[in-house]
Symmetry: C2
Subunit: 407 residues, 2 copies
């Protein structure tokens, strides 16, 4: 992409109402635009990050044989009334709207109910099971406060996966596979070191649920970390009774804050029972389908990565997630000409700063935008048949032979 | 994709409330699931068609240098009040909802207002222009009636493109480029022969607007077609005065019905003026930005293609749009074994019917699903080192050497 051709510009100042670091930096660097608190537009660079995150997640889920769908935001009240979750007392973050001609609709804050309801059409026999279905879809949650940039959105992108099984053992097996896939996903997006499977309260059907918490100063959750046991507990289950169960002692835990980037639940019959998702087993008996559900907040993940890696100069993207791998700058006539030549054929991995700007401004933008490698080609570097490559993360600079670039 | 592994199944009967052919066939073939009138979920095959359509459109727009973004559905009333379009009298298809803590929000039925408003941040000088920005985004329209399957949705996927210029001539030039790109898009999705640029009423700033109408028995628009002049007029402008302007005679037109798959407008100052999108020109004078906007209904396009090509046996997808290119069936022990071998490495282009079903049922599903080529491998065909390949569109069958398959 040529910076001379794009509409985006970096901004000197973040909007005053943007108090979260991720929101401020992503706005200044031209990745997002705020429509209102908790509601953002994704500009070309931001959308590329979102797409990279989606592709990593999609790749790992497809390996498990999960199937991708795309469900609607508009929700029929009837389906949700079967679980009681259309009630504003039960779920207090609904956006609701009225249909011309009558009837109240909701904007989906999650998709268990319509997903289970749809599957009544497709599941009749044990032969139809197991399977798992996911989507990347915008959720709507009417949060009273939304001041954390894209960490907590009123409209946000989520990956939600649902699995369907004949037996608890099969659910357990699949659940373990998802845990492994999640570990790979967080590793691939650059959060492997700081993201922990965390025990949280489980609701009705299981003692615990599992969250994935990325340790982060601005995280909204308090978590307790025990290095020896590799055990992390959400504050909500950090109780003597639970500690005893894990054979752990309160004193061995360190308190920290985490941002929840994912969660996984063994739902069992929680939704399949009230919505009547049944199958006929091998003995011709009707049984209720076992279910699991597994979320990752995709736009939140982008915000967490921004928060985690940013430094005083701006954003720092891990390579797998970055909108472009290289930020290319040509200096002087020969440098500019060579840069132009090298850009051709690599438009998809190079953000080419071909603007008529001072080099200092270009370097500042390269840093603010957080592109992993800044590649500078000047008369001086060309003299050595090389380009100067600076890694954004470490600041380390080295000369790289021109012919070894962009391969 | 293995049919034994997917949750989808073809259905013998369409739901009784699904009167439109596209809705009925797409539902029966397992492409979509209806949440309510005008609101559909896209199942794995349906989502693949949508993705193919998006990729064709994206490819053509990227060639014009357009930049992709993704804007929010939730809309701030303030911005829309500047053009008067938040009023339910002015725009009668709003879904509106209330923010916790107060304030009315809308669900975007289109995006001119937020797009123009956002660009106030990025456009200051003539040097910032021209550029063009598009998105694939779900629009919400509170239609009183929605009985046309995915041809008219209350929640539907649209590609909307907006262009920004310093001069009318530049807008005109870009507009022509978009016309050319649209012709290529409709050609590539298989609607080139039946889709016409149509003159329709222009609104405030231009005499005419251009629609793209695909001639279709169930189309909601009445259009008049003049073969000699390659001229198509929407009924709304089929008047003596207009005909005179084109030097055409009422008698030389044939009446037909069309489905509007796209539209393009020279907006000029229609939105940039009320929203204050200005730039400073080379003489340091403030000017208003010229704009164009260009839509394609992506989910509608899928419905139109379904309607256009379907026959009494089911769907028929043009190759570029089809979820899979091949429908593979193995018959007999050797045929099954060879089919398994051939499937490996081609998972992305083959829908492999490895289910334990009678061959007749498989063939019926292949036809209902509309996959372009059915490939059958049996002891008989293997005897000739071949597979039997049947083209869905023509029904023509030929023997193709195994080694020439899937290349």
């Amino acid at each position: 992409m040529r910076l001379s051709q794009t509409f985006i510009k970096t901004l000197r100042e973040a909007p005053k109402d943007e108090t979260a670091k991720n929101g401020a930096l992503l706005t200044r660097a031209g990745y997002i635009h705020k429509e209102m608190a908790g509601v953002y537009d994704y500009l070309p660079l931001g959308l590329r990050v979102i797409n990279n995150l989606e592709n990593i997640i999609r790749d790992e889920l497809n390996k498990l044989g999960c199937e991708e769908v795309l469900m609607s935001a508009l929700q029929n009240a009837e389906i949700w009334e079967k679980t009681g979750r259309f009630s504003d007392q039960e779920v207090d973050i609904w956006f609701k709207t009225e249909l011309s001609g009558g009837g109240i609709l909701g904007l989906a804050p999650t998709h268990e109910e319509p997903m289970v309801n749809m599957m009544r059409k497709y599941v009749t026999s044990y032969k139809d099971l197991p399977f798992s279905v996911y989507q990347f879809q915008n959720k709507f949650r009417n949060e009273l406060r939304a001041k954390s940039g894209i960490l907590r959105g009123r409209e946000f992108l989520m990956k939600d996966l649902y699995s369907f099984h004949t037996q608890e053992e099969d659910l357990d097996k699949f659940y373990t596979k998802v845990e492994e896939a999640y570990a790979r996903i967080f590793e691939r997006v650059g959060l492997g070191d700081s993201t922990y499977k965390t025990f949280a309260s489980g609701g009705i059907f299981s003692k615990f649920s599992h969250e994935y918490q990325t340790l982060l100063p601005v995280g909204e959750d308090t978590v307790y970390y025990n290095a020896d046991k590799s055990l992390v507990l959400n504050k909500e289950v950090f109780e003597d009774e639970v500690l005893k169960e894990f054979g752990a002692d309160r004193a061995d835990f360190t308190e920290d804050t985490g941002a929840e980037v994912g969660n996984i639940f063994k739902l069992k019959f929680k939704y399949s029972e009230p919505l009547g998702l049944k199958f006929v087993d091998e003995d011709n008996k009707q049984q209720t389908v076992y279910m699991g559900c597994y979320g990752i907040g995709v736009s939140r993940l982008m915000g967490v990565i921004a928060e985690k890696y940013a430094d005083e100069k701006g954003l720092v993207w891990p390579e797998m997630v970055a909108p472009f791998k290289y930020y290319l700058v040509g200096i002087g006539e020969a440098g500019l000409k060579r840069a132009e030549e090298l850009y051709t054929g690599h438009e998809d991995e190079i953000l080419f700063d071909d603007r008529d700007l001072r080099v200092g401004e270009k370097f500042a933008d390269a840093e603010l935008m957080g592109i992993p490698y800044r590649v500078v080609i000047s008369d001086k570097t060309l003299g050595a048949g090389s380009a100067e490559v600076t890694e954004r993360l470490t600041g380390e600079t080295s000369l790289v032979k021109i012919e070894k670039l962009f391969n």
